[in-house]
């Protein structure tokens, strides 16, 4: 889930307006694109890249490490199925509002595959200086610069703000991992935290959480054994109680989800939880020399 220079990316939906706009930005940031998919335009060239009829067709002809899905919600499931069938290792799903039944079906197929999904509803992943995948300002030097802070965020806009604050404070980023705002995502906060723990370039972690679900609580269990400093901001402290699920929904979440629950879980394992986004950069900038990022 950390992009490395040279990894090749297949853009499913490359000929669409957003697919085209962001493919150009990805290329400008150094990302290596292998081609795109559009069943109606197979055999054509777009942005100087080959267009294939499917991901399965694409991998017969070019090497693809990562697929990125720029496909509207109603057709996104089949696009992900195609990428799984093609055996592509990492599938970044940007689409928002994919119906839950389709997301459940995607997860069922992922279980029997070697593919990992990032998202749905992620803004993507960025490795400053190497490239990015998704809909992040990955080519904007005011936002991203190479460095040693690993950033995990559900939200693209808030994640962008945090990276911008870090860059302004003189702290570059080793990786930005956008995990997505959907309730059933393929890569969790904990998965991303483990990846940043293993990543040699990452010296400290900025963990941006949100109310709802239990991912921050689960990440806290892993954070307990980490040596790298972790600082967290959790959005939603002042949000009015949102739409509640039915009674039965409440018992499956088993108590997690509230701001207080997440803050308590993280603080109990030594994670510093701050009250405003910029405090996060300030905290990391003021770490003692032996912990400095």
């Amino acid at each position: 889930m950390i992009y490395r220079a040279g990894q090749t990316v297949l853009v499913q939906g490359i000929t669409g307006k957003q697919g085209t706009f962001w493919a150009e930005k990805m290329i400008a940031a150094g990302t290596k694109l292998a081609g795109g998919v559009n069943p109606k335009r197979a055999g054509e060239t777009h942005l100087g890249l080959p267009v294939f009829g499917s991901a399965v067709d694409a991998v017969r002809q070019v090497h693809c490490d990562i697929a990125v899905i720029f496909i509207p919600p109603g057709m996104a499931r089949d696009a992900v199925f195609d990428a799984i069938e093609a055996g592509i290792g990492t599938i970044v799903v940007l689409t928002e509002h994919i119906p839950a039944r389709d997301v459940i079906d995607i997860h069922a197929r992922l279980r029997d595959s070697t593919s990992r999904m990032i998202g749905p509803n992620t803004a993507g992943i960025v490795t400053p200086g190497e490239g990015f995948i998704g809909i992040m300002p990955g080519d904007n030097p005011n936002v991203f610069k190479p460095g040693h802070v690993g950033v995990i965020s559900r939200s693209g806009s808030l994640g962008t703000l945090i990276c911008l604050n870090l860059t302004r404070a003189g702290l570059g980023q080793s990786a930005f991992i956008g995990i997505g705002g959907d309730p059933m995502i393929g890569t969790t906060t904990r998965d991303a935290l483990e990846a940043l723990d293993r990543d040699e370039r990452t010296r400290a972690v900025a963990l941006i959480g949100e109310i709802g679900g239990a991912m921050e609580e689960q990440a806290a269990e892993y954070a307990r054994r980490m040596r790298k400093p972790i600082v967290s901001f959790i959005a939603g402290r002042s949000s009015p109680p949102g739409k509640k699920m039915g009674h039965a929904g409440a018992i499956v979440t088993e108590g997690g989800g509230s701001y207080e629950s997440k803050r308590r879980a993280l603080e109990s394992v030594g994670v510093r939880v701050v009250d405003t986004p910029n405090e996060l950069a300030t905290y990391l900038a003021n770490l003692p020399a032996e912990q400095a990022a």
Binding site: P73, G74, E96, H97, I98, P99, A100, R101, V103, I104, D105, H107, A108, A123, I135, M136, P137, N140, N142, V143, S153, R154, S155, G156, S157, L158, G159, T160, L161, L164, N165, G181, P183, M184, I208, E210, I211, G213, A214, F233, A235, G236, R237, S238, S239, P240, M245, G246, H247, A248, G249, A250, I251, V252, T253, D275, T276, P277, N278
Partner: protein, 375 residues
């Protein structure tokens, strides 16, 4: 999207063949009386998409037409959970031997459907979970295999359901089918009653449609309950904007759910009170003009924060919408801007040139100034 009981029974349970009591929905005491005349002793139930209807006086029994008219009149005068009762479901009453619980819902953590069953029906599932957690049976479903009678029997194994066991298993299979076909977030039957004549009937039903499936489930979605909204919230919804009106003094406009929640949190942190939640992230970023109109129409607003950080959303497009709305509405309240990310250089210049407002570098500083201006 939540459904009232009658709509859930008609549109979700009936199509898959789950037995429901004989009855009809109505809106007047006269109609209620006529239904009781026809069906015999009945139960009259307020149709609102919230729980605890019984405790609020929204469920009454009537044995004849005259009693039905009186009960209906009383129920129709109620407000339950903020909803005025406008409809009643009148259903024939039958003697109950036993009350069970059945539900299928999306288990978000497991990323699979979950079937729940309990022999302790009639009370809330949270109460069952708290008092007798062992009384709830659970089965996670692999959607590729589905949920068949053998799995239903395995879930019910060892429970003393007697002659009803086969019917209950059959209903669970049908309920899973309803969950899949109707794209439920939750479909719950509580109680699922075993009647003294041995038949099994769904006495109540709660159904929540997955919001993201509403477009392709258009016929079903049309039967959903109207959500409770203020006039401003309804105006937002008509424009495809999720606007939540709050009782605060600082209005805010931000892009993306994460940044919007954060802006509210920072307003709160500096001692202000957010006046709204309004998400213009994703494709909605082109709707800044109508969005600002909504924020400024909220009567409690004393100052405004505009906090944009463009990733997907282009801040130049959003700022253009804000500037146009500002020029047509000509508001007099103080406004504080912080704009970063995609398109920020153009956006900051636009706000300076057209509105004469200098953007703050840190959102914290913009929010702090807005809170001070509001108090």
């Amino acid at each position: 999207m939540d459904f009232e009981e009658y709509a859930a029974k008609e549109n979700v349970l009936a199509p898959v063949g789950i037995p429901i009591p004989r009855g009809r929905v109505c809106t007047t005491p006269q109609e209620a009386a006529a239904i009781v005349q026809e069906c015999g002793p009945s139960v009259l139930k307020a149709q609102v998409p919230v729980g605890k209807r019984g405790k609020a006086g929204g469920i009454k029994l009537a044995n004849d037409a005259a009693a039905a008219a009186i009960a209906a009149q009383q129920i129709l005068a109620l407000e339950i959970g903020g909803y005025n009762v406008e409809r009643l479901l009148v259903e024939r009453r039958a003697p109950i031997a036993r009350e069970l619980y059945a539900a299928v819902l999306t288990d978000f953590a497991a990323r699979r459907p979950l079937v729940l069953f309990s022999t302790e029906g009639g009370m809330d599932i949270e109460e069952i979970a708290a008092e007798r957690p062992d009384a709830i049976r659970r089965a996670l479903v692999d959607p590729r295999a589905g949920f068949d009678v053998a799995q239903a029997n395995a879930l019910l194994d060892g429970l003393d359901l007697g002659a009803a066991a086969q019917q209950v298993a059959d209903i669970l299979v049908r309920l899973y089918r309803a969950y899949r076909e109707c794209e439920a977030e939750l479909v719950e039957i509580n109680p699922l009653a075993v009647l003294t004549d041995g038949s099994v009937v769904a006495l109540d039903c709660k159904f929540t449609l997955d919001d993201s499936a509403a477009a392709r489930q258009a016929v079903l979605a049309a039967a959903a309950a109207q959500p409770k909204m203020t006039a401003l919230e309804r105006r937002g919804a008509e424009h495809g904007l999720k606007f939540i009106q709050l009782d605060g003094n600082v209005g805010l406009l931000a892009n993306g759910a994460g940044l919007t929640m954060t802006t509210m949190d920072v307003i709160d942190h500096f001692g202000g009170r957010p006046a709204n939640f309004l998400e213009i992230g994703g494709e909605a970023y082109t709707k800044a003009e109508v969005a600002l109109d909504l924020v400024l129409s909220n009567p409690g607003v004393k100052s405004l924060v505009v906090n944009f950080c463009g990733a997907f959303a282009r801040t130049d497009v959003m700022a253009d919408g804000v500037v146009r709305a500002w020029e047509s509405l000509k508001p007099t309240l103080p406004a504080f801007f912080s704009i970063h990310g995609t398109g920020a250089a153009e956006a900051v210049a636009l706000v300076r040139e057209r509105l004469g407002i200098e953007c703050y570098d840190l959102m914290e500083d913009a929010v702090k100034a807005a809170v001070e201006a509001a108090t």
